[in-house]
């Protein structure tokens, strides 16, 4: 069992205090650096993104905005309106732009959908991303469908559909792959759910991690985005922060029926994309960029597979099956999650996610993101050393 020294315990108190003031999320690395002097982060494995995609983006950014001086325009002038930026997305995902609202991050679209289109009750699988219950209108009741660790957090589709019907559920949300466990619902199963629950007000599918998922060795991703014209209650939420490694730019979008899109745009969301977000979406619409991105998407998935194997080889932890770019890890030797997080941070500068605040998790859990190949090796080495030193 890992234990903290007295000095580490003192710093950990500050860390836990900061964590608690950040609600059910981790404080950003900027906040950590600002608030706790003793902390030096070298690897942010809290952060769920493909670092190679950031590199691809930054190459274009340098060549097209920095070297040309065009960056000033992006910072100084108003960006285009929502419907103009939606055209870029439309081109790539083969969904007509009338179904698309561009968001200041997916989180803005989660907020918008929950505030404007969800009422009465909503069924949320747990463990989950907390905003799906925290952002609900006060009049909407959250009901929980528990995914069990004994069943590797797998969703039993038939049981799920039955539960929805029996409990008169009006809205459901499925994150696919799920955060924080990475569990994946195959495309065919999702189709069964969507076509069985046409009477619901909303079927929200959050595909923020779908670029990391695959159903065969070809590593193709499968999205339900193109079903939106057939199912009026289908809402797809998509973050670009994870797959493209640009969380700081705030890019996301929502796909839903035309009436809702039109109502949303008429009543707000005028200039909610920054100049850099507009640049990103324009870049995203280009074949050349996407081809380069596809190479690093596959590379990152393969390296993540290697990383997961490495984690699985550590006897003091249990790694749950994941098709995302992170793993939910249970500490099985009696070590507390907060102790593990603090030790790894203070000794190795590696920041991982304490999952103590996740409702529906029974036990000591942390979530660890896959980073670059070298960082992943460093993470595994550090964790192995933590557990070995314990025995000295």
């Amino acid at each position: 069992m890992i234990k903290l020294s007295i000095e580490e315990t003192v710093i950990n108190e500050k860390l836990l205090k900061l964590k608690s003031s950040s609600g059910s999320h981790s404080p950003s690395i900027f906040t950590l650096a600002k608030k706790i002097d003793e902390i030096k982060i070298s690897i942010d494995a809290c952060f769920l993104s493909n670092p190679y995609a950031t590199d691809v983006f930054l190459d274009y950014f340098k060549k097209e905005l920095l070297d040309t001086g065009k960056l000033r325009d992006c910072l100084e002038f108003y960006p285009s309106q929502n419907y103009i930026i939606a055209e870029y997305i439309s081109k790539i995902i083969n969904v007509s732009k009338e179904y698309i609202v561009v968001g200041n991050g997916a989180i803005e679209m989660i907020q918008t959908v929950l505030h404007n289109f969800v009422s009465e009750n909503i069924l949320i699988n747990i463990p989950t991303f907390s905003s799906y219950y925290e952002f609900l209108n006060s009049s909407t009741r959250a009901l929980y469908f528990e995914l069990n660790k004994e069943n590797d957090f797998n969703l039993n589709v038939n049981e799920y559909i039955e539960f929805v019907k029996k409990n008169k559920i009006k809205n459901i949300v499925l994150i696919n792959p799920n955060n924080p466990d990475g569990g994946y619902i195959p495309y065919e199963d999702l189709l069964v759910i969507i076509s069985s629950l046409k009477e619901l007000d909303n079927i929200i599918i959050d595909e923020s991690f779908v670029h990391f998922a695959y159903e065969s060795e070809e590593l193709e991703m499968k999205s339900v985005a193109n079903l939106v014209s057939s199912f009026d209650n289908l809402v797809i939420i998509k973050s670009m922060s994870k797959d493209f490694g640009i969380a700081g730019i705030r890019c996301g979008y929502c796909i839903m029926n035309k009436e809702r899109v039109s109502k949303t745009i008429r009543n707000g969301f005028l200039w909610n994309s920054s100049g850099l977000a507009e640049y990103f979406f324009e870049l995203y619409s280009r074949k050349e960029f996407l081809n380069q991105y596809e190479v690093v998407r596959r590379r990152y998935i393969r390296e993540t597979q290697i990383f997961l194997q490495g984690l699985e080889s550590i006897p003091q932890i249990k790694v749950y099956p994941t098709k995302a770019n992170f793993a939910l890890v249970e500490l099985t030797d009696g070590t507390k999650a907060s102790t593990f997080v603090a030790k790894l941070l203070l000794k190795n500068g590696i920041y991982v996610r304490n999952c103590n605040d996740k409702i529906g998790l029974k036990g000591e859990f942390v979530r660890i993101a896959s980073r670059t190949y070298d960082e992943n090796r460093a993470i595994i080495k550090a964790i192995k050393e933590l557990f070995t030193h314990r025995e000295e």
Copy 2:
């Protein structure tokens, strides 16, 4: 009277079509450039910002983000949460952070306040910034208080207060200085309004242009922000796009009572600032930066005064009194606003705001922003030439 050639008329049709698809706003210069090949914009006098402030910001941006390589962190990682960024603003405006919500531009805060805290009815002075009526909940009725051109769009404070009381108004909004006319309500008059209308649900004061206003030759600005702790119904909306010249970054904030701030943050707005917005607000909190900004703020106001004198010397137009960084201009020789805008754009590459869509304006109006000293001279020269050539 200015007239268009046949070629210009054809392009103007495209321009008007694009304008109409942008709702009650101008299409961005990026949208224009993308959609209409023939248009080359050299001066964007639609755009209401201090260009010298952009220069000051860009100096820091280059030195601190580009040259150090720290820009990557701003683009790649999640920004800090709302309450962390509110601390920077709090430091400078002397308002406790519990009263502050940071927005993805002021427009997001306008949307939030109207959607969540305004109901029944709202009194809006016209002409006005259209989002104040377009973003209302469908159940909220907009009532209009007309500012007359015969009275130079001045607000008669006593009449206004009487109108509010007599008509059982629940919410009011005052943009100070007003957009699109630049009319200014002195601090003492605002105090009278605020202290006379304590029974209202919301007194919304939009101070987005307040950095350009002044009450004496010292050019000091006066904000009502610090009154928020005394008046529970006071809501201050502030854009940073205009005064700091960074519209593309999307920075704004809202000041209102603590309960509303806490409700707003609990129910959303988790990562609504980008990495660059966080950098801007941190910079904004520094004395050294603010001192440099203050120099260009005063310079820009003085040059705007010279610009306004230049416009006033043109006999075919009437320039209304303004304390903002723009002027509402009436074409008094029979020229249509759309003709004037198209001619100036196609002949000189100068983009000004057609005010045809502004409710409450009777006549042909355009809004012209003050830009750099040289650009301002070019704008005046071009307008003078347009009217002279007419007579040839």
